[in-house]
């Protein structure tokens, strides 16, 4: 049973109550169509559990098959450095079929971020170390493709369709606590 080796920390991008009984971690790739499909599902799961769920997103760009995945991840990190990670995360998934520098700059503008500062950041790979650190931690935790989910630190091996994710989280909530 694969387990999360890098514990959730304040360094992570997290949505929800940090004291929530369940933490859902996703390792994702902005260019991966499966992650694109998972994006609204996760939103639904967050809505379903409300305060009982903390959601964390970590980068796992499959650069060999997805040429825009890493710059997209860096774009989200750039936005994150200015307090707008989730806004950019959402916009990237919502425009997944148009990833590339023109879109990144356009989205930066939409979020009142400086598009020139973004392109300089991408040029210098300012956030690449952060993205690679997420990736390496994911590899060591048994990430086996994208998206990979962990429910309270344990890899979710089944389908990520809404009812399966909800069921797995319910099962975890119902399990006796040590």
């Amino acid at each position: 049973m694969a387990k999360l080796k890098t514990p959730v920390s304040p360094e992570d991008h997290a949505q929800g109550d940090s004291l929530a009984p369940v933490t859902l971690v996703e390792y994702g790739d902005y260019e991966c169509p499966h992650c694109g499909r998972a994006y609204p599902i996760v939103k639904g799961v967050q809505k379903h559990f409300g305060k009982r769920l903390l959601f964390v997103f970590r980068n796992f760009p499959l650069t060999q098959s997805h040429p825009h995945a890493e710059p997209a991840a860096e774009t989200a990190e750039f936005a994150g450095s200015q307090g707008k990670f989730w806004e950019m995360h959402d916009l990237l998934f919502e425009h997944q079929n148009r990833l590339g520098l023109p879109l990144f700059e356009q989205l930066a503008e939409e979020l009142d971020l400086d598009p020139e500062a973004l392109s300089a950041s991408l040029e210098s790979h300012e956030f690449v170390a952060r993205v690679r650190a997420d990736f390496s931690g994911g590899v060591r935790s048994g990430v086996n493709g994208t998206p990979t989910f962990y429910i309270n630190g344990v890899r979710h091996n089944g389908s990520f369709d809404f009812e399966y994710l909800v069921e797995a989280i319910e099962a975890d909530l119902a399990a006796p606590r040590p």
Binding site: C32, C35, Q64, S65, S136, G142, V143, N144, G145, T146
Partner: protein, 155 residues
């Protein structure tokens, strides 16, 4: 069927097509660790694909001087098309004729399905199996076990 060969067993040697006109023997790789990744079939779904993941983290394997070999019962031409479509940078071996013979030797052939299990072996530089793992066929095992095994090899 027989059981998956455990750690400590000498890795059975084999010679298999690595391209339509080239063959590779396991014994040629003596002196460095070898990762042998048996998988059921080419052309499984894209992003959750095990070989795609290994392609991505090849540099982590290379840090250990290890050679990665993918192996399935698909033919050499099928492998060529598959590897080109996915830009794989490591060899895929065709355990095609006699079908699944190498998978059988390693105890990871599914006779009922005519394909191999999803199974991993880390073979040390002396040709001995240092670690083996049989994954449920529908579950991509990831790479954490391989990396743990490579790290545990004596230097």
């Amino acid at each position: 069927m027989s059981d998956i060969l455990p750690a400590g067993t000498p890795a059975p040697d084999f010679t298999l097509p690595v391209t339509p006109d080239q063959k590779l023997s396991l014994s040629e790789l003596r002196g460095k660790p070898v990762i042998l990744a048996f998988y059921p079939a080419d052309w499984s779904p894209v992003c959750g694909d095990q070989m795609g993941l290994y392609n991505e983290i090849l540099p982590e394997f290379e840090k250990h001087g290890a050679e990665l070999l993918g192996i399935s019962v698909d033919g050499a031409w099928c492998h060529v098309a598959f590897a080109e479509a996915r830009s794989y940078r490591f060899p895929l071996l065709a355990d095609f004729e006699p079908k699944g013979e190498v998978a059988r030797a390693y105890g990871v052939y599914r006779s009922a399905d005519g394909m191999s299990e999803r199974a991993l072996f880390v073979i040390d530089k002396d040709g001995k199996i240092a670690w083996s793992y049989l994954s449920p066929i529908g579950v991509n095992p990831g790479a954490d076990g391989i990396l743990d095994a490579l790290e545990s090899l004596p230097k």
